[in-house]
C-alpha cells in the first residue's frame, strides 16, 4: 500500500524481504534477503535515497547499517523504545501519557510481587516481539498466572486487564520540520487479538477526549523526533484514555484512510519521510474497515456489497493471516454501520 501510494507521485519503492513472494513484489523491485545479512543490506540500499519499514520486527542494527547511506524514517530509536513493552510504558509515563498498572515478571518471585501490585484479572505478555495477540495470556487466578508464566517463559510484563469501553487509536504523522497532523480518532474492535473492525471518525467521544489523544500522540512523536506515521493504541476506560502500545509505522487501524480521509496514511508517510508538504488528514465521510483474516470471500461477492472498497494483498491464505481488508465509506455513521454489517456478514459466511 505504500508503493501504491508512491506510484502517482512518481516515487518508486524497492523492498527487502526474507520471503521470496511478498506482496511488495507486485508493486516494486524485490530484494530477497535477511535483515541480518550485511551484504544483502548493502545491495538493497545501493542507490536508495530513503528507507522506511512497515513492521516493528526489523532489527535496529539493520536500520543503522542502511542509515549510513540513506535517510531512514521513522527513526530507529522509535523501534527501540517500542520493542520492549516495559520500556515503552516507562516512556509513556515519562511523557505524562497514562498507562494501566503493570509490573515486570521474570520468575515466580516477581510474579508474586506483580500479582500483589497489579491485581487480577490481568494480562501476561512477552515484553518483546509479540503482535496480533501472540505471546500473551489473560489470567484470572493465581493458578492461571503461574501456568502462563510456565508457558510464556521469562521477560514478561503483567498488566491490569482494563475493562475498557472501547479501543481507540490515534494516528498521526510528523514531518522532519516538526509539523504534526492527526487523523480523526479511530475506534477498533479486536477478535482473538487481531484487529477485526475499525471505524473512523470515532463517534460519541466525551468532551476533550480527542484533544487528550492529540496531546498524547503529539508529545510522543515530538519526544522521539519522529518522522512518518505513528499509531498510538489506547483503551477508553470510564471516559479516560490509557495508552496500550505504539506502532511506529503505518498501521492497520489507518487502512480506512485510503478512501476515508483526504490523504491516506501511506501517502502522508511518504510525504513526511521525503520532506514534502503533508496532505490534509480530514475525514471524507464516515469510514469503516473490516479485515479479511485467514480466508477471503469470493471477489464477486465482495464487490457486490454496496460501497465496498476491496483490498487484497495477494498472500497465500493461512489461519490468522491478514489477507486483505474491505473499506466502506458513507455520508452518515448509521449508513456506514449498515454497510459495515453487510461486509461482516459476508466475511463471517452468514
Amino acid at each position: 500500500m505504500l508503493a501504491q501510494a508512491g506510484r502517482p507521485l512518481d516515487i518508486a519503492l524497492r523492498f527487502l524481504d526474507p520471503a521470496t513472494q511478498p506482496p511488495g513484489a507486485a508493486v516494486g523491485e524485490l530484494h530477497v534477503g535477511r535483515y541480518e545479512d550485511a551484504a544483502a543490506l548493502d545491495r538493497f540500499v545501493a542507490g536508495l535515497s530513503h528507507v522506511t519499514f512497515e513492521f516493528e520486527n526489523v532489527p535496529v542494527p539493520a536500520l543503522e547499517r542502511v542509515g549510513r547511506s540513506a535517510s531512514v524514517f521513522p527513526p530507529a530509536r522509535a523501534l527501540a523504545e517500542g520493542s520492549d513493552r516495559l520500556r515503552e510504558k516507562a516512556h509513556f509515563q515519562r511523557l505524562g501519557i497514562p498507562v494501566a498498572a503493570h509490573a515486570a515478571v521474570d520468575d515466580p518471585a516477581s510474579l508474586a510481587a506483580a500479582l500483589a501490585t497489579v491485581g487480577l484479572p490481568a494480562v501476561l505478555k512477552t515484553r518483546r516481539s509479540g503482535y496480533d495477540g501472540k505471546g500473551q495470556a489473560v489470567v484470572r487466578t493465581e493458578e492461571e498466572a503461574r501456568r502462563a508464566l510456565a508457558t510464556l517463559g521469562t521477560g514478561l510484563v503483567m498488566e491490569r486487564l482494563v475493562p475498557f469501553t472501547r479501543e481507540l487509536s490515534a494516528l498521526a504523522v510528523r514531518t522532519p520540520q516538526g509539523e504534526v497532523r492527526m487523523w480523526p480518532l479511530v475506534e477498533n474492535v479486536h477478535r482473538e487479538g487481531i484487529l477485526h473492525v475499525s471505524r473512523a471518525p470515532a463517534t460519541g467521544l466525551a468532551p476533550g477526549l480527542e484533544e487528550a489523544a492529540r496531546g498524547h500522540v503529539t508529545r510522543l512523536v515530538e519526544d522521539l523526533g519522529f518522522v512518518g506515521v505513528m499509531a498510538l493504541e489506547m483503551f477508553e476506560e470510564g471516559g479516560r484514555l490509557l495508552a496500550n502500545e505504539m506502532a511506529p509505522r503505518v498501521h492497520n487501524s489507518g487502512h480506512w484512510t485510503i478512501e476515508g480521509a483526504e490523504t491516506s496514511q501511506f501517502e502522508n508517510h511518504l510525504r513526511a519521510g521525503l520532506g514534502l508538504p503533508l496532505g490534509s488528514t480530514a475525514a471524507r465521510g464516515h469510514a469503516g474497515m473490516v479485515n479479511l483474516v485467514g480466508t477471503v470471500p469470493p471477489l464477486e461477492a465482495l464487490l457486490a456489497l454496496e460501497g465496498a472498497h476491496v483490498h487484497l494483498y495477494g498472500k497465500e491464505p493461512r489461519a490468522r493471516r491478514k489477507l486483505g481488508h474491505v473499506t466502506v465509506v458513507a455520508a452518515t455513521a448509521a449508513e456506514r454501520d449498515r454497510r459495515l454489517a453487510a461486509v461482516e456478514r459476508l466475511v463471517a459466511g452468514r
Copy 2:
C-alpha cells in the same frame, strides 16, 4: 491507472507497448512489441484471460488475433466504428444522437459541396487517427478551407464549428450482462485541442440534459454490445447536446473519478470486463481535474496546494505531452473552483 486499480483486487496487468519505457512498466509486466507483430502478440497473450486497450489506435487485426485465446473488451467493433469520423457520425445519427452538420471532403469538388451544405466557420478534420487536436484546422473563409485541404490531404470531414456553451462528456460503463451505469456529466475545457480542465458533476445543467446524455450514451453502448468504459464527448449548444466523438475506453475526462467518485472509471472498466459486479458511479463531492501538459511543476509545490491529489505518469517531458494530472475534491462547487484555480495558477507558472 488501470494497473493501479487492479492491484487491490489482485488483478495483475501485463502491457504490450511499442515503446521500451512506457508508464505501465512500473506497475506490471511489460512486453515491448509492435501491434503488427503476430509473434509478439502471441507471446503477449499467452496465459492472459482478458485483454483491453486504452487508446484507439490499436489496429483491429491485433485485437482479433489476441481475441482467439483471450476475452477482448471493449469489442473491436467499437474501435472500428470510432476510427472514422464520418462513419462515427453516421452511427450516432442512426441511433438518434444529434450531431452537427458535416460532410465528407476529399478534393476541391467535395470541399465546394461541403462549404455549400455545412457553411462557415467550420472545422476540417482528418477522418482517421487524429487526437488531441492533431489533424484538424478551423476554417473561417473559403481560402482558409482550400489551404487546410492542401495541408491535411484527403480523407477529411468538414464539420460546422459549433459555437458551444461548453463541452460535456458522458462517461458510462456497461457489463456483459447489459447493466449500464453513468457517472455524473463532466464539463471539459480544452486548450489547443488538448483537455485542460474537467469539472464533475457539471453544474447548471438545463432540465433534462443529464437524462438526454444518459439516453445517448446508453443507446450507444447497447448498440455496440459494449463492455467496459465509454466516453461520449458532446457540445452543449443552446440547451441541447450535439455528439462530437466517442472514446471507446477509459478517458481523460474521467480521471477525476479516482478521488471524485465512489468507484473510479479504471476499477469499473476492469470489473465490467471481468464480469464482476459494478461499483457505484455516484460522485463524492465536487471534483476538478487539471492536466499537466508538457511540463510538471515541482512536486513540492503541487503537494503544498490544498486538497491536491497528484498523479504523475513517469513520462519524459515533451511539448503537448500529458505528463500527469491533479485532482481536487471539495464539499461545494465554489470551494472546488477555488482549489482548481490555485492548481491552474501553479501550472501556468503564475
